[in-house]
Symmetry: C2
Subunit: 370 residues, 2 copies
Amino acid sequence: MRQRFNSVTKSANVSLISMNNITRIYDNICDWMDGSGPLSDIVVSSRIRLARNVSGFVFSTQADDQQREQLLRYLHDQVMETELKDDLWYLEMSRMAPLERLMLAERHLISGRLAEGNTGCGVAISHDESMALMLNEEDHVRVQVLASGLQLEETYENINRIDDLLEEKIEYTFSPQYGYLTACPTNVGTGMRVSVMLHLPALKMSGQIEKVFRAAGEMRLAVRGLYGEGTEPIGDFYQLSNQTTLGKTEQQIIEQLVSLAVEPIVEYERQARNKLLKDRMAALDDKIHRAVGTLTHARLISSEETAYLLSLLRLGIQLDRIKDKDISLRTVNELFLLTQPAHLQHHYKQTMDAGQRDELRARFIREHIR
Amino acid sequence: MRQRFNSVTKSANVSLISMNNITRIYDNICDWMDGSGPLSDIVVSSRIRLARNVSGFVFSTQADDQQREQLLRYLHDQVMETELKDDLWYLEMSRMAPLERLMLAERHLISGRLAEGNTGCGVAISHDESMALMLNEEDHVRVQVLASGLQLEETYENINRIDDLLEEKIEYTFSPQYGYLTACPTNVGTGMRVSVMLHLPALKMSGQIEKVFRAAGEMRLAVRGLYGEGTEPIGDFYQLSNQTTLGKTEQQIIEQLVSLAVEPIVEYERQARNKLLKDRMAALDDKIHRAVGTLTHARLISSEETAYLLSLLRLGIQLDRIKDKDISLRTVNELFLLTQPAHLQHHYKQTMDAGQRDELRARFIREHIR
């Protein structure tokens, strides 16, 4: 971002792979989901995205197919001239199967809008899946960087470096008065959305979660579900993000989100967990172990119930209430990702209706935890 | 019953044991619960009881403590002069601990009324627990015989023999016009109540159970819960019994109950089970295995939920849907009996409130099925 150039680490991998090759990643979890980051008992992941638009092109939302195609080719060529190219997989939405697009969305690598598969839309993804460049989403370019746990400063450094590399090649629309211009006025300015995924089961159980939402609202922060805008929270996972992009610097936005919201909420959740352990241990153990029992025995299970039960397992692991060595944080994270509809169909190599998915989801889970 | 005398099989055991000795039976199931009887996939047990009153004594419900004490001594002495005496445990309610009385009620050997522990009330129980003589219940004498599965004819022969033995010694109030006179007019005549305990999970799941109730009502049959009058059905167990005791012979009452109600209901339940297997196998397997999962993992469980889940296990075993060798019909029957409040407290040798019981019930179940 209008700063000096920093190079990124190069990878030995090829820069461009075929759509078929990318399927090899789908049976594993993304690196940023490994649960190793700071405060990852409560902060699942950190995410920053930047909205950028290219001078001389109409906004993607106003463009026709041909205009979007033209911009996509231009962006592809520019991106592939940066040092990022050796670490990127490039994919065009209109050339992918619907199931593959859904898998990318389930991995948080593209948005629901991109997953629709419209002409002229694409994505470039770093091999470790921590970075994605969405092309012709609502804005011409949306850069996203993901990290495990609470790592907003590091993530910001990272995305800033990537933004600088792109800006060496691409002329973005930028107003000295307003900052970056975006398709939707809510993004004007920094064009930045910072979000953290929080796991707050104890605040939920103790009936304090509404208070957190109210406080977040007063700070002009949005609380959303696992898949961002327009999705409902499931499994006690809440995405907290800034709504203001104008009038503050990037550093201020991040610092305020962390110190005024994330850190206090983490502390409240920790207190609520301690209180559960102290006052309601038997009821808590019951909930957690019933979740294990249902996951290991159900023959039909929806993705919503799976998320709810895995959330309880995650809590049980964090609070050391589960003695079963088979049930690790990694297993839970894997199951979260791999039991989603598209991943499940990919795994069993067949398209399925919801009823069949529920059956094979239950089988998949039983095969992973016994 | 006013018929020829038939002798009963003698036992080598002592006729009278102390109250403490009877506690040795409490860690086992009763023989009649072993699930070996005819049609026992659906008919859990058969029961006949006779209401009798002794000439020259006021009804128990009208008697004072002294009158009841006097009758109890008289009845005890008469019973102990019959050939039954070698096979009987004799217990006086007022001399038992409340927990012990509750255990007898949980074993269906005494009624809730007797379990209250009033002065002058007693019971004589055969060593295999198939027969109980309640003394100073609503009537002076209530003879009960229990059997596994559908065995009403055999049970009737049995109870008839016992009734004859008692009538050799005791002069009952009997009117040539009305038959046996009883404390409550609903029992006048034969003084007989015939009941079968039915397990009807498939009719319940398929929403047909209300139809069965309506048909039973039209036949003047009562449908009750596990513990008879005034108890709600739990775990899909329904006790079906005659309401009419007057104007029919004992044989007619039994024959009509079996041919007009029990046999058709057994057939409907069987059809409903086959339909479940055919049309809703996955949903059925899911329910059954979730029940296994919850029973083997819960840390807190109520007796009502336990009954519900064990009912599903029972169905799963009958339909051969459970492959786990640990889970037999005997285990299920044992758990039904031994997880009830009084048995549970007896097992853990402590009095407990409902919360503690829920915790130890869950532990007890986990120790029995893994």
